[in-house]
């Protein structure tokens, strides 16, 4: 199992994502200017400030040559995870529905947030709650840090998203500081192979520095999916 982690000018959390992915498989960085995805089985579009977040977060990065390959990869059913800025890039690339707007509190905000897993039967959450969290509620404690994290979609789109069960993660009560519609923290595409979230699972893979290791379950889920454990 090999993850490819994109790297744009201005990416900041790509090495963190690389290290997190390496806890469950192989992982390699993919330069934004390269079209070759190096045989990756799954792609991570990482966090940070690609192109400085200038114009709009993710607006420029989505045109990168590597993103063209990621779009074909996704259209072919490949697993793509977008974290924070990566989520913004995937929305800009229309691989995911909706858009991310400025936080309701108008500030960059860093906080450990509690998330509810809305759907365990996805390629990205099937391991959640499994390991060592017997009987625990279906929550993940994961840090979030962003200024453009207010998930928004039109009412009509939102209806579709909810009906199709595309909401994967929601902020638990009182945790939605950015004002996301319907408390949506993470959403997938209709086909289920592309997933984006604002909080940073790659920063919660090691108790020592993450405050929790809950985020590892997302990477582990992807590994299980790729390795066919659950097809």
């Amino acid at each position: 199992m090999k993850f490819g982690v994109l790297q744009f000018p201005g990416s900041c959390d790509e090495v963190d994502a690389l290290q997190a992915a390496r806890k469950v498989g192989d992982a390699e960085l993919i330069w934004h200017g390269d079209r070759d995805l190096k045989g990756a089985d799954a792609i991570v579009v990482p966090g940070g400030f690609s192109y400085g977040d200038y114009l709009r977060a993710g607006a420029i990065a989505r045109f990168a040559p590597a993103m063209e390959s990621v779009i074909s990869f996704a259209n072919g059913g490949g697993l793509v995870l977008g974290i924070c800025n990566g989520f913004q890039v995937l929305c800009e690339a229309r691989l995911l529905p909706g858009a991310l707007l400025g936080n309701a509190n108008r500030r960059f905000t860093f906080r450990q947030v509690e998330l509810e897993v809305a759907d365990h039967n996805t390629h990205f959450t099937r391991a959640c709650g499994a390991a060592g969290r017997e009987g625990a509620d279906e929550r993940l404690s994961i840090p979030a840090k962003h200024s453009w994290g207010r998930y928004y979609s039109s009412e009509e789109t939102l209806k579709g998203i909810e009906e199709n069960g595309q909401v994967v993660l929601r902020y638990a009560q009182g945790q939605n500081f950015n004002g996301s519609v319907a408390d949506i923290a993470g959403v997938r595409n209709e086909a289920g192979n592309v997933f984006g979230l604002m909080p940073h699972p790659e920063h919660a893979v090691d108790e020592l520095v993450g405050g929790s290791a809950d985020g590892l379950q997302i990477f582990e889920s992807m590994r299980l999916s790729v390795e066919g454990a659950y097809v």
Binding site: L55, R56, A59, I60, F63, E92, G98, A99, L101, G102, N103, A104, N105, R106, R150, Y152, S153, S154, G179
Partner: protein, 77 residues
């Protein structure tokens, strides 16, 4: 040719910046201000003005959440 693009949050979408300005103004002694909205202003020289619409759709604005208006200005700058 110099072009100006005005980009605004679509009607009905919460505009926290606009609201914050609206809230702050009375404290500074300005009354009677309403409907404040904050958007983006992009100004640029283009050789081929017919490209601008596409540029807006693809890059400068996000049509899902923003409206835009293009103004072509007289000369270059």
């Amino acid at each position: 040719m110099r072009a100006r693009v005005l980009i605004r949050p679509k009607a009905g979408i919460l505009d926290p910046q606009g609201e914050a300005v609206e809230r702050a103004l009375p404290a500074l002694g300005f009354a009677g201000v309403a409907n404040v909205h904050i958007g983006r202003l992009v100004e640029l020289d283009v050789e081929d003005p017919s490209q601008i619409k596409e540029m807006c759709e693809k890059l400068l604005a996000n049509p899902l959440v923003e409206d835009y208006e293009v103004q072509l200005l007289d000369g270059g700058s």
